[in-house]
Amino acid sequence: MNKKFFPRGAIASFVVMIVLFVAIWFTLYFVAIARS
């Protein structure tokens, strides 16, 4: 109970979200290059 709170879960979710957004970005990036 006296342990200092650290938002591990929130940070992990944030990292997963960023990785997902980067994956989506590069997916569309390569689709756009393929179409050009």
């Binding site: 960023i18 980067v22 590069f26 990036y29 756009a32 290059i33 179409r35 050009s36």
Partner: protein, 145 residues
């Protein structure tokens, strides 16, 4: 500065540099064209298709309520077309489905994109900017054969 704040700043900066350099790399290495804007209307203020060579075309596309002029453009397979897009009245969209051409027809300006059609087929051109009561029926065709 807090350690977490420094980390967030570093990560954001890294991603920004990554995305920007990827875009620049695509322009330089893959010769990907970016849409550009010309502010003089003439001679792009009427629809026209100009054939410069067997595989080089120049298309002056005029967007108006609620059609594109020319409505159909016929091109041979492998042709490279330079699209110059202008608007006769209000803002319109111009997207050639299946390609990277995605422009806005802005009154008083001319937007440009270059595209090469390697695959035969009928490419639908749609207006994706609301321009009035018949916006949903505003479309054209690029016929490549």
């Amino acid at each position: 500065m807090d350690r977490g704040e420094r980390l967030a700043l570093a990560l954001s900066s890294f991603l920004l540099v990554l995305f920007l350099s990827s875009a620049v790399f695509a322009v330089v290495h893959y010769d990907v064209g970016l849409p550009t804007c010309i502010t003089s209307m003439e001679p792009f203020d009427e629809g026209e298709v100009i054939e410069h060579a067997e595989d080089r075309y120049e298309v002056h596309m005029l967007a108006m309520k609620w059609q594109f002029d020319p409505e159909e453009v016929e091109l041979p397979v492998g042709a490279t077309a330079d699209f110059y897009l202008a608007s006769d009245d209000v803002m319109h969209g111009f997207q050639i489905l299946g390609t990277n051409v995605n422009l806005m027809a802005v009154p008083g300006a001319v937007n440009y994109a270059r595209v090469r059609f390697d695959e035969p087929g009928e490419y639908r051109v749609v207006c994706h900017e609301y321009c009035g009561s018949e916006h949903h029926e505003m479309m054209g065709w690029i016929i490549v054969e």
